[in-house]
């Protein structure tokens, strides 16, 4: 108890002029948001459950992609038993199988009669027995149907029969089939792109939903935690409340975006290892749009999540003060799945739906670049407005501790 106290620093001494210049060794409040943001990030990164959750998700994504790559590149070789009389068709099956499905290979095993064939099947030495029953080809398996082999066999037998009948009629299989095929065509875009678009759009809508929900709840909880412990009173006397709000939004947005980029990155690397690798380039352009809209949409929603936290007085109340936010986030997600036609076009300009719908339309090729710019401008303006409104609600509800507040109460609460 003998430590001597240094003279207190001078910022508030009578002689200090009331300008923005700070005393040496002291920093101003203008960059305080960075301190707040850094704390939010550090706390989260040292939170074991957050780190474990992220790693597990990454492993799941990588594992799924890896399985896809392995499974799609795998060739299954089937042993098909056939008696001498059925051998020509079995040989044709062995020859043409690859042409029908490149993951299916067929080896033929000669058998003396039906009894021998059945014995092979039962012992598991053959996968199927190809034989004729009257005018019909039969593919007999032991206890479960081999769907790939069945599909290939059907195709090969159909083609063989067609050729035989064409030759009987004095014509060719090609002539017989002329004019019988239907090709699909889309006015806008192409089929493969549309399928890809809906897949990628779903993936991003889902990521946006998960990110806004998990980080939103995290943000609301970190706000109410400070409010409940009254540490917010110490913080509010140290820095402007706006700095606290901005720091929290920036910190949590950075975390959310970093996590999304990580997930999407691992997903893309995984995609490049699968037979769908050609899609990587097709997807990477729209991904940039998605990220831009993601950031703007996330910031707008994050400000509202902070308000949801500030309206509660205790952690247990967050669930009810955050209900409108949960509904909104779910509406955005399901809207992106089910909306179509004019509703989709209109809502692709309306925040926060535009955060997911506009990049989806870009990906589908149904929106022009200038439409994206307009939607982005509207979204950014809304985000700015929401942050301002949220600041007022946040500031006024932050220091009210008598139970839950409604938005209306918070708006008109005295400071």
């Amino acid at each position: 108890m003998t430590t001597t106290l240094r003279t207190p620093p001078t910022p508030s001494s009578p002689s200090s002029p009331s300008t923005d210049a700070e005393a040496p060794g002291r920093t101003g409040t203008r960059s305080a948001w960075a301190l707040v943001a850094r704390r939010e990030v550090v706390v989260k990164l040292t939170d074991r459950s957050f780190v474990i959750g992220t790693v597990v998700t990454l492993v799941l994504i990588a594992g799924f992609m890896g399985w896809q790559a392995w499974d799609s590149g795998r060739t299954s070789t089937y042993t098909v038993a056939a008696t001498a009389s059925d051998r020509p068709m079995a040989d044709r099956l062995a020859k043409d199988a690859r042409g029908v499905d490149d993951t299916v290979a067929v080896e033929v095993d000669d058998v003396a009669d039906a009894g021998a064939a059945r014995a092979l099947l039962t012992e598991g030495d053959a996968d199927a027995w190809l034989h004729r029953d009257g005018g019909t080809w039969v593919l007999t398996t032991d206890s479960k149907e081999e769907s790939s082999l069945t599909r290939v066999t059907q195709e090969v037998v159909r083609q063989a029969a067609l050729e035989q009948q064409a030759s009987d009629l004095g014509t060719t299989a090609e002539q017989l089939q002329a004019g019988s095929t239907v090709r699909t065509s889309l006015l806008t875009g192409d089929a493969e792109k549309a399928g890809l678009a809906s897949g990628v759009a779903f993936a991003f809508a889902f990521l946006f939903y998960i990110a806004t929900l998990t980080f939103g709840i995290t943000l609301a909880n970190s706000v109410v935690e400070e409010k409940q412990s009254r540490i917010v009173e110490i913080i509010a006397t140290s820095i402007p409340v706006r700095q606290l709000l901005v720091g929290k939004i920036v910190g949590n947005s950075a975390l959310a975006i970093a996590q999304m980029v990580l997930y999407a990155g691992v997903g893309m690397v995984g995609l490049s290892l699968t037979p769908y690798s050609s899609y990587v380039t097709a997807v990477s352009g729209p991904v940039v749009w998605f990220l831009v809209f993601f950031v703007a949409g996330f910031v707008a929603l994050a400000a509202l999540w902070a308000v949801a936290g500030a309206l509660a007085s205790r952690t247990e109340e967050v669930q009810s003060t955050a209900t409108p936010m949960t509904m909104l986030v779910m509406a955005v997600f399901f809207g992106s799945l089910f909306l179509d036609g004019a509703a989709k076009v209109v809502l692709s300009y309306v925040p926060p739906f535009s955060a997911v719908l506009m990049p989806t339309r870009l990906l589908e090729g149904t929106a022009q670049w200038w439409e994206a710019v307009v939607a982005l401008a509207v979204l950014l303006a809304t985000a700015g407005l929401v942050v301002r409104v949220a600041e007022r609600l946040y500031r006024r509800s932050l220091l009210q501790t008598g139970g839950k507040l409604s938005m209306r109460q918070a708006w008109s609460a005295p400071e």
Binding site: R230, E233, S238
Partner: protein, 293 residues
């Protein structure tokens, strides 16, 4: 100097703080005393700027207080709370940085203060792993770390053991001795009496007494104890006094008319040997009960 002038705050129909005026002078420890709901916390929150002011003003060194001034103050809110899951040293550094200290200076100051409170080896523990008393000490350190230009502490002694009370008192005296105004509230009147240079007594939102302990005591009733070698029942006959208590040869009397105690003394000397004749200083608790009643 911190001047509080006519400060008023209403919550709905209730006036929690009603025209409160007092000052907290540099270099002095000012104790803020009052029952539950007297308005101490509300007043302190208005001084710190975390609660809006309905009327009146707070001045710092002669001009209206600004958020910049308040940033330099050290504040300990009524309900304790830091971040339960964060490490002690980390949150102290963070809070000091918010106050404008550089990270290095904040860390050095935090280590020095933790050392002082015997918490050096708990610096990297999470706050929730500490005992409640030690959490309280960390809270105190958080308020003092940035060498505040003024201290506003709401019940800084509650929850501290006697050793911690002593080191806390030393710390407050040290800060005051550097010229810093210190305002703290407390329920522990004996402590306030021992420690404070000045007292502000609040009751139902109003200041009922301000002054140093002696000044306040002098406002209380003047009492004398007289002890004889025989029964003192006769004091009941003396005019100008009120007999508080008679117990065999000893009596406690309250002087109603100036000089009446001299009559008691003369009479006592005439009747026999006077063993004791002393003025009785009222305890601060008595004064408090009287003014706050």
């Amino acid at each position: 100097m911190l001047e509080i002038t006519d400060l008023t705050r209403r919550f709905g129909d209730v006036t929690a703080v009603d025209g409160v005026s007092f000052d907290v002078r540099g270099g002095l420890l000012t104790g803020f005393v009052g029952g539950n709901g007297a308005g101490k916390t509300t007043t302190m929150r208005m001084v710190m700027g975390v609660l809006g002011i309905d009327g009146g003003a707070v001045h710092w060194n002669g001009r209206p207080v600004t958020p910049r001034d308040q940033r330099g103050f050290g504040y300990m809110p009524e309900e304790r709370g830091l971040y339960p899951k964060q490490r002690v040293i980390d949150q102290l550094v963070y809070l000091a940085q918010l106050k404008g200290m550089t990270a290095a200076a904040a860390r050095a100051a935090a280590e020095e203060h933790l050392e002082r409170f015997g918490l050096a080896e708990r610096a990297t523990a999470r706050l929730q792993e500490l005992s409640l008393g030690n959490q309280q000490r960390v809270q105190v350190v958080a308020a003092l770390l940035h060498r505040p230009s003024a201290l506003v502490l709401d019940e800084p002694f509650s929850g501290l053991d006697p050793t911690a009370v002593d080191s806390m008192a030393d710390l407050l005296r040290e800060h005051a001795s550097t010229g810093v105004p210190v305002l703290f509230s407390s329920h522990q009147l004996d402590l306030v009496e021992k420690l404070c240079d000045r007292l502000v007594i609040l009751s139902r939102g109003r200041v009922v007494a301000v002054g140093d302990a002696d000044e306040l005591r002098s406002r209380g009733p003047v009492r004398f104890r007289v002890t004889l070698d025989r029964d003192a029942g006769w004091v009941r006959e003396v005019r100008g006094i009120h007999v508080v208590d008679v117990d065999g040869p000893s009596a406690l009397v309250e002087v109603l008319e100036e000089g009446a105690e001299q009559a008691v003394l003369r009479e006592a000397a005439e009747r026999g040997t006077v063993r004791e004749f002393t003025p009785v200083r009222p305890a601060l608790a008595d004064i408090y009960r009287e003014v706050a009643a």
